[in-house]
Subunit: 161 residues, 2 copies
């Protein structure tokens, strides 16, 4: 599969995988904590931890012997998911489906205490774009299916919205 | 549920829901196109389209009568998911699991043709942050469970990594 989006979704497994990575990013480490945080069943939690480990997003570390007990940590690859979690949080905060007085989580720069957010910037200069008119194009790694998707779109441009 | 991340994941349904929103963001509109793009089964596609419609992310529009045929479009809420798709693509491009020569998709500013990417900026000034030291805090909308997650983390700070 040559869609980067699909590849990351596959590595996460499903919604539960994403919520476990969220918990690890927040600093939770232990099996029982993931259970309490998400309400996930034993069977599903065990299966998703294995998926995340197999896909290189998390690693187990022994923290107690007799009986052996493990903690889970994000690998560098797992930490990469942080930007996806932030994007999800940013959208959810705007929707505010639970009609809260403010966001459940605040993302801040630890050095300044200032709130931070994700925004579109020029890839080369890093300069923020005020009101970007985003377009998607085929990249070097686009396969036939990706070209087909974009071609379908082009052929329909000009149709009534 | 007062986690913005979980709320957005719930609205999408699952991996298939996300891939359908990806296809709509790329400009695909029709049932058969989603089938060809994702390889999803009829039963799953029908079910996910209904989920996305029920959750206000997409809407059906009649484009032909006798027999009636519909196209699907992203609602403003569905378009909000764009930042999540971009974050997923950005991570997948870095991982490059398929070992491609370049990204399958390029995101560009239509006015300048320059590549754009997501980056962390100061929420107030909009200024880009060179190497932010990101911290997560409870926001106004944090419920007991979110406070518990963050408290667990704090109580473990100082432990060996």
């Amino acid at each position: 599969m040559t869609c980067s989006i699909a590849n990351v979704l596959d590595a996460l497994g499903d919604r539960w995988g994403m919520l476990i990575v969220r918990d690890l990013a927040l600093g939770l480490r232990r099996y029982d904590d993931f259970r309490q945080s998400t309400g996930v069943t034993h069977a599903t939690l065990s299966s998703r931890l294995k998926t995340l480990e197999d896909n290189g997003l998390i690693e187990r570390r022994l923290y107690q012997s007799r009986p052996d007990r493990y903690e889970y940590h994000l690998t560098p690859r797992g930490k990469d998911i942080g930007v996806v979690l932030m994007a999800l949080a940013q959208v959810g905060d705007v929707w505010n489906l639970a009609e809260l007085d403010g966001p459940p989580l605040k993302f801040v720069d630890a050095r300044t205490g200032h709130a931070v957010r994700l925004a579109l910037v020029d890839a080369e200069s890093g300069e923020p774009l005020a009101s970007p008119d985003l377009r998607v194009e085929a990249g070097l790694g686009a396969d036939d299916l990706m070209h087909w998707r974009l071609e379908k779109t082009r052929s329909r441009r000009g149709d009534a919205q």
